[in-house]
């Protein structure tokens, strides 16, 4: 398939949909569904550099902090639990229970204990994200290949090298699956943590628009949230592709015949 044809195929539907939306909404008087043109203008007006700095940056920073915390804690705990069958059996029911609690529901509890503030929001994000990472790490560590394990024992590969290669890298495909799920949860929690009580933030701002019935601005906020979700997903894909190129190569080569 030629390059041009591929590009056309890729953008054909989105452009058509956007076009349809534009024309269908152009003459709209329904205040809930403003013309796309107004939304786009509102986008430019609302999300100025200043507002980006005042609202979006703090949100994203908290997101990064919470996510980072969850990744470190999740992997560390996951390695410890996954490597010891007894510890795994001991903690399994408790972990299954904790992970079944919808993360947003913990927000009221965390608010009770930590009040309102950046710490609360970061803890909320971390508390929700940690579960997929933790559980996937446990799975990944547990399912490590016995032949590889025997190899390490035979050749005296112990300690740090062993953890790095046998445990972490072998489990990395599974860990990254967890990290991807955690990312979706992180974004959701970033917004939710700001809906209750915040002075700044993306979720806070959009909700204000919604409550104040500033509809075009609200739509523009929804757009922005969507864009952020897409952008983070794209970043994640890049990181995953780089970290797991050996894995993808291996799977591809196995499928070849």
């Amino acid at each position: 398939m030629t390059f041009v044809r591929r590009i056309i195929l890729a953008v054909a539907l989105p452009i058509t949909l956007l076009g349809l939306w534009w024309f269908a909404s152009e003459g709209s008087t329904n205040y809930l569904w403003p013309p796309l043109s107004r939304i786009l203008t509102a986008f430019g007006d609302t999300w100025t550099a200043e507002r980006l700095r005042a609202d979006v940056v703090p949100s994203l920073t908290r997101l990064a902090a919470g996510y980072g915390l969850a990744v470190i804690a999740g992997i560390a705990l996951g390695v410890l639990i996954g490597g010891a069958p007894r510890v795994r059996a001991f903690t399994e029911p408790v972990l299954e229970f904790m992970r079944a609690i919808p993360p947003p529901v913990l927000v009221p509890i965390i608010m009770l204990v930590l009040g309102l503030g950046d710490t609360m929001k970061i803890v909320v994000i971390a508390s929700g994200c940690v579960w997929p990472i933790l559980l996937n790490t446990v799975e990944g560590v547990r399912g490590r290949d016995e032949v590889l394990d025997d190899t390490c024992r035979t050749y005296g590969i112990r300690g740090g090298l062993r953890v790095r290669h046998l445990v972490l890298r072998a489990a990395s495909p599974q860990i990254l699956t967890g990290a991807r799920q955690a990312l979706s949860i992180a974004i959701i929690l970033m917004v939710i943590s700001e809906l209750f009580a915040a002075e700044n933030g993306l979720g806070f701002t959009v909700m204000q628009f919604s409550r104040g019935f500033q509809i075009p601005e609200m739509w523009s906020g929804v757009f922005l949230l969507g864009l952020i979700g897409v952008a983070l997903a794209a970043v994640y894909r890049l990181v995953e592709a780089w970290l797991l190129r050996w894995y993808h190569g291996q799977r591809l080569s196995r499928r070849e015949w």
């Binding site: 059996a89 408790v94 939710i192 509809i215």
Partner: protein, 255 residues
């Protein structure tokens, strides 16, 4: 010591810790009540019809949304998978829409439907749909090339291929998709109720929080957790039953 015993021990230890920590002052008792108080609050809740109504509302939201999402996901997934041309046209759109967080819809849904169950159902459907769609797409694409070549050599028609080749190959993925969707759907059902204020457990939690009844908040959170555990166990059991005959139990594709 076998697994079940160890697990139970873990649960008991957890409960014990939660009992001791507030009493000893490790966490502020006012905001983190000991487990005995939480259990009492739970019993108290169970006595109130309001609680059961809320539970019913949440379960209803969850299952309604899940059913719609699964039906839609299957339909769209099979369609996109079966007609290769369609997928190449829609691929970018799907990849773009997928990561949009469901919370982005909350302001929309609040404005459109207010604090009704319908609002939450929309959220549930939106989030769960992608889970199903993704898995179905992978299932349809994952047909064993050797099996596919065999079908071609023996000149199986499109319908026969779908029935004997695509469907059995995709089934494990579909089932996994339903399981993942069920989990996400429940989370959104409760979350929607919490944020949007539609009838359900989430709303009860918020009400309890605002009136400062910490034990009740925790008790309700425990209920949501238990609900989630039941949902996970049930869907896993269904998954095992359906896939019992499947030779290779495939691992789920990363969401």
């Amino acid at each position: 010591m076998n697994r079940t015993v160890l697990g139970l021990l873990g649960l008991v230890t957890f409960g014990g810790l939660l009992e001791v920590a507030p009493r000893v002052g490790l966490v502020p008792a006012q905001y983190a009540p000991p487990s005995s108080r939480i259990a009492a609050a739970l019993a108290e809740q169970a006595r109130q019809p309001q609680f059961w109504a809320a539970l019913g509302d949440t379960v209803q939201t969850w299952l309604t949304g899940l059913a719609i999402a699964v039906a839609a996901g299957l339909a769209v997934g099979v369609l996109l998978g079966a007609v290769p041309m369609l997928w190449s046209v829609t691929a970018t759109t799907v990849e773009f829409l997928r990561p949009i967080p469901s919370v982005a819809l909350i302001p929309l849904v609040v404005v459109l439907y207010g604090s009704t169950i319908r609002a939450t159902v929309v959220l549930v459907v939106y989030a769960a749909f992608w889970q199903v769609l993704l898995q179905v797409l992978h299932g349809v694409a994952d047909v064993d090339p050797v099996a596919r070549d065999t079908a071609r050599v023996y000149r199986l028609g499109r319908w026969a291929r779908l029935r004997y080749l695509v469907w059995p190959s995709a089934l494990p993925y579909v089932v996994t998709g339903v399981r993942l969707a069920a989990s996400v759907a429940l989370i959104l059902a409760v979350t929607g109720s919490l944020i949007v204020g539609s009838p359900g457990l989430g709303k009860e939690i918020e009400v309890a929080r605002q009136s400062g009844a910490a034990p009740a908040v925790y008790a309700l959170v425990v209920v949501t957790g238990l609900l989630g555990v039941v949902a996970n166990v049930a869907t896993r059991a269904i998954e095992r039953r359906v896939l019992a005959w499947h030779t290779a139990v495939r691992t789920e594709v990363g969401a």
